[in-house]
């Protein structure tokens, strides 16, 4: 139990640092910016209570907001993300299927499931984020292209880190 808390704490700090000090300066053709920090919310354990999930998502969003000078923007998107996560998991995973505290990682769940999971959640989060940020009808083509290309970039980085921290299945 304490191991899970420690892992997630380290992951939180590491992802915030990575996002704020490295990826913030990072953009492809002025259009594609990755927001890898949402991986923290994706990788929380399956059995986390909903209250805790929403509180953590909110805290993560507000932390990123503090560094990006956009109070509330990332927090709102993260809360949407947490809600979609609850829905997605309740549809695709059986409740009593996991016993030894598994997390929804690439190594635990396999490529196909994790890819769908990451793709759908990232798309929802980015769509909400970019449209909340700009909110102008005249700029919809730019917003949409930023949304699609940034999502691809983010999912790519997520899969990359999933393979980087790949562990052999512990379940027998």
């Amino acid at each position: 139990m304490s191991r899970i808390i420690l892992t997630n704490l380290v992951r939180f700090v590491a992802l915030v640092f990575l996002q704020v000090f490295l990826l913030k300066n990072f953009t492809l053709y002025n259009i594609s910016t990755p927001y890898i920090y949402i991986m923290f919310i994706l990788l929380l354990p399956f059995e986390i209570p909903n209250v805790l999930l929403f509180v953590l998502a909110f805290i993560m969003g507000i932390t990123i907001d503090a560094f990006y000078d956009t109070p509330g923007l990332h927090a709102a998107s993260c809360v949407v993300l947490a809600f979609v996560r609850v829905l997605f998991i309740s549809i695709t995973v059986q409740k009593d299927g996991f016993d030894n505290e598994p997390e929804p990682t690439l190594s635990m769940m396999g490529f196909r499931w994790f890819f769908t999971y990451a793709l759908i959640l990232t798309l929802v989060h980015h769509f909400f984020l970019f449209n909340l940020e700009v909110f102008r009808f005249s700029e919809i083509p730019y917003t949409l292209s930023r949304f699609v290309l940034s999502s691809i970039f983010t999912v790519f980085l997520m899969l990359l880190s999933g393979f980087l921290f790949f562990r052999k299945k512990e379940r027998k």
Binding site: T33, V55, Y68, D69, G72, A76
Partner: protein, 277 residues
């Protein structure tokens, strides 16, 4: 009552979602105008200190560029020294200038946080109200216009850069003096702006300089950029043109905050006039 409780616990995710979403949206809408967002922003103690630390390390990477720009500025300033002018009269005459009093002073500041790749970009600088920075002051750098102070803390301030969807500054064509206003182009290219609402009589040429006008926060004639495309957008009764910005926002290191000594007087008078109408 009991059924209601069962209903709420069964769909608790949805209700939690509603609660947190409303909290975040309220924060977003209420603080987005940058009026009071002191506790969630890069001027706050923790984030500000972290940015200052990281920026200290980053500075080493930019030393060469900064040196180059300083050397260039030195050369330019040296050119304005009295000693570099040729004296062509032998009679000595002294000018005790009573016609010109200083209107603008400048506070130099260092950029400690900057972005160019978002729709709304802000710059954090390391000068605040203790050094005389106040909300609404203009900000320039060696090569041209940068933006406007939107929030001044004690030691740090936040500048809304020209690369922001709400940034709009009065500008004019350098040779014809035709007025217009400059905005960031909406394709999010950090090197391009759009000069809008120039009168149809103007005959702009490609490569003509665009500078700040007398009606801006800045001294007149601060460079903004050069006209790079005349047919960018048709604006009906007025001309719009694309401008290549003079400032490279990605390499911004040192800026100057413009203090207009007459700003208060002007604002006071204009408020008076509004009251009279």
């Amino acid at each position: 009552m009991r059924n209601l409780l069962i209903f709420i616990t069964k769909y608790n995710a949805f209700f939690l979602f509603l609660i947190f979403e409303i909290i975040s949206l309220v924060i977003y809408i209420k603080y987005n105008s940058f009026q009071k967002a002191t506790f969630i922003s890069s001027t706050a103690r923790v984030t500000g200190a972290l940015y200052t630390q990281v920026n200290g390390a980053k500075d080493y990477l930019h030393l060469k560029d900064v040196n180059d720009s300083l050397a260039k500025e030195n050369a330019r300033l040296r050119g304005q020294l009295k000693t570099s002018f040729y004296k062509d009269t032998s009679a000595k005459h002294e000018v005790n200038d009573t016609n010109y009093k200083q209107q603008y002073t400048f506070i130099e500041a260092k950029v400690i946080n900057n972005s160019i790749n978002r729709r709304n970009n802000y710059i954090t600088i390391d000068r605040g109200t203790l050094q005389g920075v106040a909300k609404g002051m203009g900000v320039i750098c060696g090569s041209g216009l940068v933006g406007k102070v939107v929030f001044a803390g004690e030691h740090l301030s936040v500048v809304q850069s020209l690369l922001h969807k709400d940034s709009r500054f009065s500008a004019m064509l350098a040779t014809g003096k035709e007025l217009g206003y400059i905005e960031w182009s909406d394709d999010l290219n950090p090197h391009k702006g759009i000069l809008k609402d120039v009168s149809n009589n103007a005959q702009p040429k490609l490569g003509e300089a665009v500078v700040t006008s007398e009606f801006s926060l800045f001294p007149a004639g601060i460079p903004i950029g050069k006209v790079s495309n005349l047919h960018s957008r048709q604006g009906g009764y007025s001309l719009n043109m694309e401008v290549t910005l003079a400032v490279d926002f990605s390499k911004l290191q040192y800026v100057d905050v413009v203090v207009n000594k007459l700003a208060n007087e002007q604002a006071g008078l204009e408020a008076q006039q509004k009251k009279d109408e």
